[in-house]
Symmetry: C2
Subunit: 385 residues, 2 copies
């Protein structure tokens, strides 16, 4: 399967014999991404504490930035004047911007929703702001990422059927307006494409309806939204499965805001291609390291005199150069270098997992890999060890 | 002039025709340092926000760590068990540890001084601790830097003659004890050498007496202490000149805790070889950048839409990859990457200045260089520009 449109494209390179997973190449004007892939989050135009060359070394190929945060500061006009998001971030690879919908509904002060859009108060200076589907597309154009996400309405409880249905149908109406504005602004000729977002909460029929409505627009890629909002694992499974199995085979599928190693294994097996989450970077700053021992708190006293690397099989700067004892000392001392090194490690851990996932899709061994990840992540060493 | 002892040495390579400055090579068990050189400060075993490979790329060849901070946390026994300071910091070049004297007198809670040493309360856990000259040498041995500084007594007011004289004479008595303990612990055979510290405040006769007493011990290097404690520029000049001109020509001279570009020009012209200061790293974290426009506050609104690099002639990662507008955005957003990039820039600025100083010593042009630095640092652009 393959698909191409004005600088964008997607091609399936290999399919798993064991499940619905596939290895693909997603092409953008700023380069290609081999999928499944994890996108680090660069909320304000920076993946916290990491320089762009480091991201590339760790295996990052596409990164995410947040429209809401950048529109508030420094403002999309400033970003455009400074040469766009790629110049701002000093990242010449693919970038995706979310639409700000999630933040408007979760972060904004005094948010007021109507059919036209959302009026809210800036958390930075209290100014009153309005996001409409058209306005969001204009902001994303000014930011200049390769992929702009449509402005959607994400219900806060994926099990409240009335709320979910209302948000899902509004998302469909808003997508019409996003697509229209995207086409008015040159469509893919602008160098930017638009991904639509499927909603529908944890209801299979609503997800099915949403896939139908969203894929009625012939877009370069489709995303699954409304997950990772605090739902149960079962609710997430229903949402992902009902949507992923109905999305077209020849377009990339992006599961928004997910998540953890176990989530990746399950969602990739359902045919998901792109992921983003703050887990590796946020955990790095809170002194949590991903490892074959699960998520370990490096501040634990058992690491104080431990001369071994965090993970002897890891090639990140933290594991190559520093002992667990040093990492603990840096963390206990709240030194920037501690947060930096753990962030680098966690990002490398995530990208290495995606290397393994792609290898298992191409060459087999999915069950063993899934068992290993489940074992690693379930194990929590008692503090005395 | 040249000097060598058990893995340590110093050799003058060139002398200025215009002043007392010299270019030299200081040899240690972990490599050589071409002097004059600036040592970044790695207080707790990390130069804040900077990875060791980055330090080397920026031009750092020797770094400083603080005995007081490391003795409190993680403790010198932990550092030794983890393989010593070089392993802890992942820095295989030369390291110098200060003696903790300065911090004991300036930071410690409820400090009590007697002829034997100093008793103080840990700022971390309130524990009562005692530093004696012998104990400090033992701690520094456990830390394992290439150069250990003697435990000295630095008077808080360099113009209070009675206080300065008392502290200077105590420093001499304590040096005797440091030297004895250093020799008992294998001397330079341990891989670590001891630098003595000249005190004497802003009094030429006391500085002269102190040089005489300190150089009565045949040490690998000598330092000038008791400066950069809030004195006037004139007081610092007297202190540096009276000491530097009397110190032996064939040993490295280290001016402790200094300072700024203008200080370097003056002190190098007096024959100083080594410097350390928190200026580049601390200013980086407080959003101040050194430049040919003086010290600029990158948060200034005039940088918001400025697409130019901070300094077009600078090869640091901040100037190579980011605009002033981005650096301002990162700083205003309190993003770690802002502090990291400004720190890298400031360190490169300092090391580039030392490159220029060494070139002017070897090839001439000192007056022009001094005028340029004075002009750069005096200039402060009005905020509207």
């Amino acid at each position: 399967m393959s698909f191409a449109r004005e600088g964008f494209g997607y091609r399936v390179l290999a399919r798993s014999r064991e499940n619905r997973a596939r290895v693909g190449v997603f092409t953008t004007p700023h380069g290609v991404v081999t999928t499944p892939a994890f996108m680090p989050v660069g909320t304000r135009g920076t993946v916290k504490g990491v320089q762009p060359e480091e991201l590339f070394s760790l295996g990052s190929r596409m990164i995410l930035a947040n429209t809401y945060h950048l529109a508030l500061r420094p403002g999309e006009d400033v970003v455009r004047e400074l040469g766009g998001l790629h110049r701002l971030m000093n990242w010449n690879g693919p970038i995706l911007t979310d639409s700000g919908g999630y933040q408007v509904f979760s972060l904004a002060d005094l948010m007021k929703l109507d059919e036209g859009g959302v009026t809210f108060r800036s958390v930075i200076d209290g100014a009153s702001l309005r996001f409409t589907p058209e306005r969001v597309i204009e902001i994303e154009r000014a930011l200049g990422a390769d992929v702009a996400m449509a402005f959607d309405h994400c219900a806060d409880d994926p099990l409240d059927r009335a709320k979910v249905e209302d948000a899902t149908l509004r998302t469909h109406r808003w997508l019409e307006r996003c697509v229209r504005r995207h086409r008015e602004l040159d469509g893919e000729g602008s160098g930017q494409t638009l991904f639509g977002i499927v909603q529908g909460g944890a209801f299979e029929d609503l997800r099915a309806r949403s896939v139908e409505a969203v894929t009625s627009h012939d877009l370069v890629g489709y995303a699954i939204g409304g997950v990772s909002v605090g739902e149960t694992r079962d609710a997430m499974r229903i949402a992902v499965r009902s949507a992923a199995r109905r999305l077209p085979e020849d377009r990339p599928r992006y599961l928004m805001g997910v998540g953890t190693p176990l989530d990746f294994v399950e969602a990739v097996a359902e045919g998901i291609d792109l992921f983003d989450c703050v887990t590796p970077t946020r955990h790095g700053r809170t002194k949590q390291a991903f490892s074959s021992q699960g998520l370990v708190n490096i501040e634990n006293a058992r690491f104080a005199r431990d001369p071994r690397p965090l993970d002897p099989r890891c090639a990140c700067p933290a594991c190559r150069g520093f002992s667990r004892g040093t990492l603990r000392h840096l963390a206990k001392s709240d030194e920037m270098l501690g947060a930096i090194l753990l962030t680098l490690h966690n990002l490398r851990f995530f990208h290495a997992l995606f290397d393994d996932l792609r290898a298992a899709i191409e060459f087999g061994g999915w069950a063993e890999l899934a068992a290993r990840v489940e074992g690693d992540m379930a194990r929590v060493l008692p503090p005395e060890l």
